[in-house]
Structure formats: C-alpha cells, structure tokens
Symmetry: C2
C-alpha cells in the first residue's frame, strides 16, 4: 500500500493501477512504457495542471461543445486510468465514446468497453470499417463514430493516428504530457497535462464556460504557444532541480 | 520489423526487446514503466552520449580499476538490454557480477543469470543474506559479492537501494538517464546516459586510461557538476524543440 501522504501518491497509484491492468490485458505492454515517458514529463511540469494546460482544457471544452459531432476515442491506458472521468466528460459534453486501440484485439475491445460501461459511459458499438488512412487494423473505426466526427478528442494517442485524423480534415484534441511529441505537434489542440487531471478540467469547463468566452477561446487558439508554455515550464523546473 | 534507417532505431529496438523480456518474466512490469521514463530523458539529451556523460564514463572506469573489490549489480532491465555489454565490461575491468533484483523471485534470478552467462559473463552464486539496510527481500545480497565490495556499479537502480549502499560506506556508480532522480543525486558518480551506450563507454575507457588520468579523474570527481551539465543539455534541447 502506498501511504496517502506520500508526495507522489497519485503518480504511484496510477503506476500500480496500470501494471495491474497490464496483467489483465487491458493495457498493452507498450502502454506501460508510454506511461513511463509521460511520468517523466509530468515530473518536469511539477505533477500539476499548469496555467497554460488550464487554458488548453477550457479551449478543449469550447471545441467539444461547439462540435457538430464530437467523439472521444478511448484506448487501454485511458480506460485504465480515467474511465470514470471519461464518463463524466461524456455527460457534460454530450460527446460519443468509441474504443479505438493501437494493439487491437476483439478481446481487448470488449474488456475496455466493459470498464467504461461499468463507470457509466455509453460506448458506441457496431461494425468497424477501414476508414482512417493507416495500414492494417489501425485503419479501423466506426462509420457513425470517429469517421463521422468533426471533432475528436484522443487522449494518449500515437503520432501516426493523430496525423491521419488531421488528414481526414478533423479537428483533433489530444492530451499528451510530451510537448515535443509528434502527436502534440500535429493535433489542433494539445492539453499538456496528465490524463486524470486533464479530463476533469475539461469537464468542469464544459459546465462553467460562457458562450462569449467559448467563442473567444476557439478564435484565439494558438497550439504552438501552448506547447511553448509547457516547454518553458519544464525548462524552469529543470533549472532549479538541484537546489 | 523496425527499419534500420529509422532515426530512432536503437530506441525502438530496445523498447521491443524489453516488452519481449517482460512477456518472458525477465523484466518486471514496473521495469517497463521505468524504461519509459528513461526514454523521455534520453530524448531530451538527444539520444547520444554527451560530453559530460563521456567524462563520467571515464571516471567510472578509473574507479572500477582502482577498486579493491568491484561488483556490477545487474537487474532485469540491464540484463535484457545489455547482457553482452556487461560481459565485456567484466572482462575489461575484472569486476564481479551479481544479480540483484527489486522484484526478487528465484525464477527471475535464474532467468537473468542464464542470460548473462549465455553472453559470456561469470555470475557470482551462493547463499544470499540480509546485509543491505532495507526491509524485506530487498536486503538480500551475497556476503562475498555486493556486501564485500568497496565499489558497486548499479545501472538503473532505485533510490532506496542506492542510498542503502551509500549508507554501508560503499562507492556507488550508477547509470541513470534522469539527472533529478534520487539515485542520480545519491550515487557517488552518475553516468547520465542510456545503458547500452554507457556500459561500452566505460569498457572502452578501461582499456585506454593512462594511470595519471585515472588518478586525476577520481581526485576531481564532482557529481553535482555532472548532473548540472546533463540538465543544461536538456534545457538547451527543450529551448530549440519547436524550431
């Protein structure tokens, strides 16, 4: 058991939960390595939501609410860490939820759908088709889900898929702790924050945004500025690291 | 298959190898997350041996050669990634090799010993005793191995064990990509470099060091300077990241 007063309690609990989900097959082994990369960058932003991440989360809420059809694309890591938070965001934003996996098997799709539904999310189902411009099974998605969406929120996504969704003309919002990743740089909007902090921040903003603020956030979105702010935060923290 | 001309070929091969070793039980699931953290920091130093890491590797060689009894402590991640490199370093430095695991089971000890021996390392054996000031099985080591050593090289070590070895009065050399980690800051000497680059660099230095250079490197060792140099490298790279 990790003591609740441990300074890195949340981070250690997330790591344990992910290892357990890997044993159960929900999380791919590659997902554990990806999580470790995220941990390193989270450490560098102080394991807290920065001012620029908070602005990004409010902008994400504005984009989800303004969408014709918003879909949240959920993978194994997101379901393992934030199933309850995804269900709450679906409630607040009216977005659809689709399970979409890099390491896709029918068994994992069923497991992850089960976790999301247990936490109160409604998950899209149906027959997937090869509609995303990617090779192999990574092209698969639902015609009435991601393929139809104008706005897709894809937390913890890989760079190839993010680029493919952009190439389909979609607005892509991602949650990615690495501001240098291809995903972070390819997305329309990147929330540089840990997923269990980012999703509730977007949910809270869905409830509190005034229409004029929402419009202004979308009109003034500058993702390079947001990424640079996250990088500056990391540089600042590094410079005081040995004090 | 990862194409050999991929700019991040070595990093991707290491990740695949580690996932395979996790399936075989050599690498703990926690080891995959730890590797991911390392990947993030490796990215920030440009996935190459920096000038300060090269200086640290030469200093490590000097300390191993000057030791009364040097022991290389090998865990699952190190064996999975660098068994051949460890065998070559043992040859060049005359150090003993002991398997020492955070997530210790007899099965994993046997698996990892087998990998090291297959690559030509001679691995210490015998009955372990609780000689390291840590709780549970983490206290276990060999009386004629780590317990007797004056210099211990522990690549990819955790902070608790590094501190416990220091508390036993030992000179601790570590290889750790995170210059902010407790291990990096507690060790006598930290090589901030990826393990498959760091170990061959130490091995090469064992063969090329002149006695007067070796003495000077040990006399002028300043680990805080080495850590700060690594941090400066990361800050510099971050500042140009979006160009």
């Amino acid at each position: 058991m990790i003591p609740k007063d441990h300074p890195r309690y949340r981070s250690l609990v997330a790591r344990e939960r992910l290892a357990r989900c890997a044993r159960e097959g929900v999380v791919a082994l590659e997902g554990l390595t990806a999580h470790g990369r995220g941990e390193a960058f989270d450490y560098l932003i102080g394991e807290k939501t920065t001012g620029s991440a908070s602005l990004a989360a409010r902008t994400a809420a504005a984009m989800l609410l303004a969408a014709r059809h918003a879909v949240i694309s959920v993978n194994g890591n997101t379901a393992a860490l934030a199933a309850e938070e995804i269900a709450a965001l679906q409630q607040a934003s009216g977005a659809d939820v689709e399970v979409n996996l890099f390491h896709r098997t029918e068994e994992r799709i069923a497991l992850i759908t089960g976790i999301l539904e247990k936490h109160g999310a409604r998950v899209l189902s149906g027959t997937v088709e090869r509609l995303v411009p990617l090779s192999h099974d990574r092209a698969l998605c639902l015609p009435h889900g991601i393929a139809d969406a104008d706005v897709v929120l894809v937390p913890l996504e890989d760079g190839d898929r993010c680029a493919a969704l952009r190439a389909m003309g979609k607005t892509v919002i991602t949650v990615d702790l690495n501001p240098l990743s291809r995903t972070a740089r390819t997305a329309t909007l990147t929330v540089v924050d840990e997923v269990t902090r980012a999703i509730p921040a977007i949910t809270a903003a869905c409830a509190s945004l005034e229409p004029d603020e929402a419009g202004r956030l979308i009109a003034t979105l500058d993702n390079t500025y947001l990424l640079r702010a996250a990088i500056d935060e990391m540089r600042e923290r590094l410079s005081h690291a040995l004090e």
